[in-house]
């Protein structure tokens, strides 16, 4: 994606507010349908990983601090792995015999598209803060999604996937909060 420096100011504040509202919507969605319905879980988890990879790529190029840049690179690696784990899970007959048409989602939703747009629009001075704010919100949502499905999900293979991915996402959130403190 093209990187164009935009001023922060009012636009930046509106974008941040938009990301926060979107995050609240995401939390609600993750806590309801995504916590027990397989189709909703797969769609949300896939889109979450797609967003993390894209945002991580942008951060790897634009972040001003080493910590935010390294976080971005780690997100690309780890969420690519999560995407591949999901692809493998959806090949398994443990899933296909009950949900034969369930495929990994390969396109971002409007909300995550908006978050990436806001990231690209952030000024150089605001970039790291914007990225870390988005990361905090996105990981809180992902934890709600994975924890909910791990406890209440209706497919054993996908429940196992949620359980296997959750510790990594929790470690990510801790890392994001550590960076935010400094």
């Amino acid at each position: 994606m093209a990187q164009e420096q935009k001023p922060g100011g009012l636009k930046g504040a509106l974008n941040k507010a938009g990301d926060m509202v979107g995050g609240m919507v995401g939390q609600a969605s993750a806590a309801t349908a995504g916590s027990h319905n397989s189709e909703a879980f797969v769609m949300n988890a896939c889109v979450s990983d797609l967003y993390e990879v894209e945002a991580g790529r942008i951060a790897a190029q634009r972040a001003r601090t080493d910590a935010a840049r390294e976080l971005g690179l780690m997100m690309v690696d780890h969420h690519t792995t999560a995407t591949h784990q999901m692809q493998a899970a959806l090949m398994s007959s443990e899933v296909t015999r009950v949900l034969p048409n369930l495929k990994p989602t390969t396109q971002l939703d409007n909300r995550r598209e908006g978050m990436l747009k806001h990231l690209l629009e952030a000024s150089d001075d605001d970039f790291d803060r914007t990225y870390l704010d988005q990361q905090r919100t996105a990981h809180q949502e992902a934890i709600t999604l994975h924890k909910g499905y791990a406890e209440n999900g209706d497919n054993p293979q996908l429940r196992s996937l949620a359980m296997g991915g959750l510790p990594m996402i929790e470690r990510h959130l801790k890392a994001i909060e550590r960076i935010g403190v400094h």
Partner: protein, 430 residues
């Protein structure tokens, strides 16, 4: 009708201990033994070793003293079973380390091929076919090494005409970043019962191969032989990680114990039906009777401690015996369609489709710098004998892997060159 081990009567535990003289069995005659009898012996040794190592690990994580005693009772008997099986392999003068190695690789090929063909889960089938092509190549590399080491015996005297000896996915390209050996696990709750048996069997067999090369790889004096063992031993570690990551990581120790005993029952039952050597068949029969009691002991512990019914883990019983048989046509088709696949995390993709600068190429550059023993062994064989050692009925199903090439056409060589890899070797036949 399925064979349900829980419905059978086994040999009571108190009658299972054997004397040293009973355990010190007469080895098979290396020139008379059926190749697949050797394979069955190698497999069952690996299965017993895994059951013992698993039990030791369980013991280290178990505070329940009385349960530890039950485990120890079974473990001691399984140690005896391992001796009775592994001591069937004759000593160095009859069958030296590289000859036994050819047997190990024939197991890796024909066991993995059978399991892949009978695997009901498409993802796991892909996992097995991926590993199969790598062991298939090891057989060819070791066969060339055996010829070079020169006691006059050919690898096909070990394998018979049951298994082709020809390139698979070239070993040089099997070395991948460690993160790309981790697969997606099954769940005991939802997996097909056959999938559990297949995965546990492969883990044990590959682990035994890994352990064997870790121990015997430094026994040859010839530097090339030591180097070939060293390189392939590293792939066996990849394979153990590859297969064991398919197992359910969330099952309890007791469930795992039941599944180990069940796996042993399935294989002894399988080999009892297919064994052609009457003396060795008696060993399979005796050990099946023992394992039925081991399984019942584990099942009782599962019921007493966790309140779970082992019958739910085993299902109605075993439908089909694992059978050593020719897999040549299947191998040809898998090589032709999958030789260029590599792994990226838990999925498989043509190597030519990896993104530029993928970690695979960095790992290749690191480990293959300064020469690749499994390429060198073929080059050395061509130099000494004017060609490679192969045992194939028809020309290779992949033109780039035929002895006369064109080797450069293999996707792997193209991807390596496109990524500027300096592999320290050229294609074997260049």
């Amino acid at each position: 009708m399925p064979f349900n081990p829980l419905a059978e009567r086994g040999l009571p535990l108190e009658r299972q201990l054997r004397s040293w003289s009973e355990l010190n069995v007469e080895p098979y005659d290396t020139r008379a033994v059926h190749p697949y009898t050797r394979c069955r012996v190698i497999v069952m040794n690996g299965i017993e070793v895994e059951s013992i190592i698993f039990s030791h690990n369980f013991n280290r994580h178990c505070a329940d003293v009385e349960l530890k005693q039950r485990l120890q009772m079974i473990r001691r008997i399984e140690q005896q079973q391992q001796k009775a099986v592994n001591w069937l392999i004759p000593g160095e003068a009859q069958e030296n380390a590289v000859e036994v190695t050819i047997g190990y690789e024939q197991v890796a090929v024909d066991l993995t091929a059978w399991l892949a063909r009978h695997e009901p889960d498409p993802y796991l089938k892909q996992v097995y076919e991926f590993g199969l092509l790598e062991d298939f190549d090891h057989l060819y590399r070791y066969a060339n090494l055996m010829d070079l080491m020169g006691n006059g015996r050919k690898a096909e005297e070990i394998t018979g005409n049951y298994t082709d000896i020809t390139p698979g996915r070239p070993t040089i390209f099997e070395h991948r970043d460690p993160r790309d050996d981790i697969r997606r696990p099954m769940t005991v709750q939802a997996a097909h019962r056959q999938s559990i048996l297949n995965a546990m069997t492969l883990v044990a067999a590959e682990q035994q191969t890994m352990n064997y090369y870790m121990v015997v790889g430094n026994r040859p004096t010839d530097p090339l032989a030591r180097a070939v063992y060293l390189e392939i031993a590293q792939i066996e570690e990849q394979h153990v990680s590859h297969y064991e990551s398919c197992l359910d990581p969330n099952m309890s120790w007791l469930t795992n114990w039941v599944l180990h005993e069940n796996n042993e029952c399935w294989l002894y039952w399988s080999f009892l039906q297919t064994e052609v050597d009457p003396r060795i068949k008696q060993i399979w029969e005796l050990h099946l009777a023992m394992e039925i009691e081991h399984l019942k002991t584990a099942a009782r512990a599962l019921e007493q401690i966790e309140g779970k019914d082992a019958a739910e883990l085993i299902g109605a019983g075993y439908e089909a015996p694992m059978t050593f048989e020719e897999n040549k046509a299947y191998l040809k088709q898998v090589v032709a369609s999958q030789v260029d696949l590599t792994a990226w995390d838990a999925v498989f993709t043509p190597v030519t489709e990896l993104p530029e600068g993928h970690r695979y190429f960095g790992y290749q550059a690191a480990v293959n710098a300064g020469g690749v023993p499994t390429e060198e062994v073929i080059r050395r064989h061509r130099e000494k004998f004017g060609g490679e050692y192969r045992r194939e009925d028809d020309p290779h199903s992949v033109a780039a892997l035929q002895e006369s090439g064109p080797h450069d056409n293999l996707g792997y060589w193209q991807a390596a060159r496109a990524n500027g890899a300096t592999l320290g070797a050229s294609p074997a036949a260049e």
